[in-house]
Symmetry: C2
Subunit: 329 residues, 2 copies
């Protein structure tokens, strides 16, 4: 099978690519199918993966000419991960609309044109976000809780969900929308996501660097580890689309934890000196976005579909330390 990952040079895209190459197959209709080719599409080139199955396409995803290089009628699995993150989409409205909405639509239109011409109907995994929710929410968010995004990022993701659902209903693609919890602990540098601190308050102290938590210590967050996210993306592709029923969206299982609990876990795993590197100065710009996201979720449907969350946040920190090659305490 031919697989495409958009946002293939990003953190999740690269991790997913490495995992897929290592696995070598995806289970489709109950049978392992070999991944014959893996295309990574992004505005910047990813680091070399040194694998003959990998092909790199560099360019703007909203450009049909770029898409024509990345997708053809043989593409049977698309992971659409490319996105402008929440803080950036709030700061630059046009950029967010172009990448989060127009590029997603251009990708779906390309698939639709191929469907009309060749009858192809790729599985498309689209990553959405907790940011599609907001405002007054029930104590526990259900799969059918109404969307009410309070950020442009959330609105753009919600629109992408609607597009993918309608393109799926019409048979142009076989789509599945995974609403990802905030990924923590991300390696690397802070980014412009409003939730960047949810990795920073663990990653930076472990690297000997001070980090600030810009939200109240009791703010509930909904988290998934990078390992958990990669496993969920693969699972999302493998699910039989018919099992999704009338809703193409799945709220993935996460951990509901507060920054206070996260730093307590950091203290248990890495000690006082590390945990004490976290400061607690609140920033309204971040709180205004993150504070609208829900905290507790009913994930029965996701669990029934075979998705799994993380065990606890201590385990998440330990996995990060292992993956990042940090010397144990």
């Amino acid at each position: 099978m031919q697989v495409l990952i958009t946002g293939g040079a990003g953190f999740l895209g690269l991790q997913l690519a490495r995992q897929l190459l290592k696995r070598g197959t995806l289970d489709i209709d109950g049978k392992p199918v070999a991944i014959a080719g893996l295309t990574l599409l992004d505005v910047v080139a990813p680091p070399a993966l040194n694998d003959a199955r990998v092909r790199v396409v560099t360019g703007d995803l909203s450009d049909p000419a770029v898409l024509a290089q990345a997708v053809d009628e043989h593409t049977s699995a698309v992971f659409h991960l490319a996105a402008v993150v929440s803080g950036q989409a709030e700061a630059d409205f046009d950029l967010g609309m172009r990448v989060n909405l127009d590029a997603a639509r251009a990708l779906l239109e390309t698939c639709r044109a191929l469907h009309v011409k060749h009858g192809s109907r790729p599985r498309v995994v689209f990553t959405s976000s907790v940011a599609v929710y907001g405002g007054t929410l029930p104590a526990v968010v259900q799969d059918d809780t109404a969307l009410n995004p309070q950020s442009s990022y959330g609105a753009q993701k919600a629109i992408g969900e609607l597009l993918l659902s309608d393109y799926s209903r019409r048979g142009f693609v076989d789509g599945r929308v995974l609403r990802l919890p905030t990924i923590s602990v991300r390696p690397g540098k802070p980014n412009a996501a409003a939730s960047s601190f949810a990795s920073g308050i663990i990653r930076e102290p472990l690297a000997g660097v001070a980090a600030n938590c810009p939200v109240a210590p009791e703010t509930p967050l909904w988290l998934l580890s990078p390992r958990g996210a990669i496993a969920a993306l693969a699972r999302g592709m493998e699910i039989d689309g018919a099992k999704l029923g009338e809703r193409r969206t799945v709220n993935l299982p996460g951990l509901s934890v507060t920054p206070k609990e996260m730093v307590a876990a950091l203290r248990r795993v890495a000690g006082d000196a590390v945990a004490d590197r976290v400061s607690w100065e609140r920033e309204a710009r971040i709180e205004n976005i993150v504070g609208t996201w829900p905290a507790a979720w009913n994930t029965e449907r996701a669990l029934a579909l075979g998705f799994q969350g993380d065990e606890d946040f201590d385990a998440v920190i330990r996995a990060y330390i292992e993956d990042a090659g940090i010397a144990a305490r």
Copy 2:
């Protein structure tokens, strides 16, 4: 004040224009404000209204040059009624996307550019539809029941809602989304809306013509009369945006009735000979769309905001007979 109506040559647009010209004012912040100018924008020219306040712009709403003629920084009220109806949007996907999504976005972008340049922030009333709901629904639809459109029209309207909400949140416009029940009894000819029969089974028999009901007699419909719709549109513009709170969408009050009940009302109002002109041959294409729409609604919020529904369907038929100038039985 300067008022724009998109879809100004359509049935609702024209009726609204006549009503606004007759009233002469809209209540804004508790005070009547004179309507100094009324622009009607549509792809076809409306009939002459013979009023010096009226200006007509003919062209494609998704064309920024056309929009530049229709909207400027003095436009303080926009009724965005232009749309491709449900059956047509299902039959011609591209047309639906262009009019129901791209044109709505182009209109909002024009308002945003004027806001950035001049600080203007028009009130925008956007008409949405029961078609944003679908799939398994609660017995009574609430304002916060999750959207799950099962038609391209419904998906496009849901996307328009999200856009208007985000543009409002960012302060580019002061938007309000009215989810209109199916309008019945519409005058004129059948149209490509899946719900066209909801007017046809009353209008055609009253004109001495046979009409078919393509859905089961017990299918629940959610209806609003043209008079009720026009009143709701004006009320939607007059509401203080702050009163809408965190959700810009309002489910308008309607009547929950079945075709069987509608024809019984027609029998009471116009007699057996008229009611017997209705036939009952089901059509899957129509049932597949209409059958996904919800039937019972909690409209407390709309009522608290000053919206009103119709008294009963007998009164709706009598009002239609009066407005259409049909001789009484």
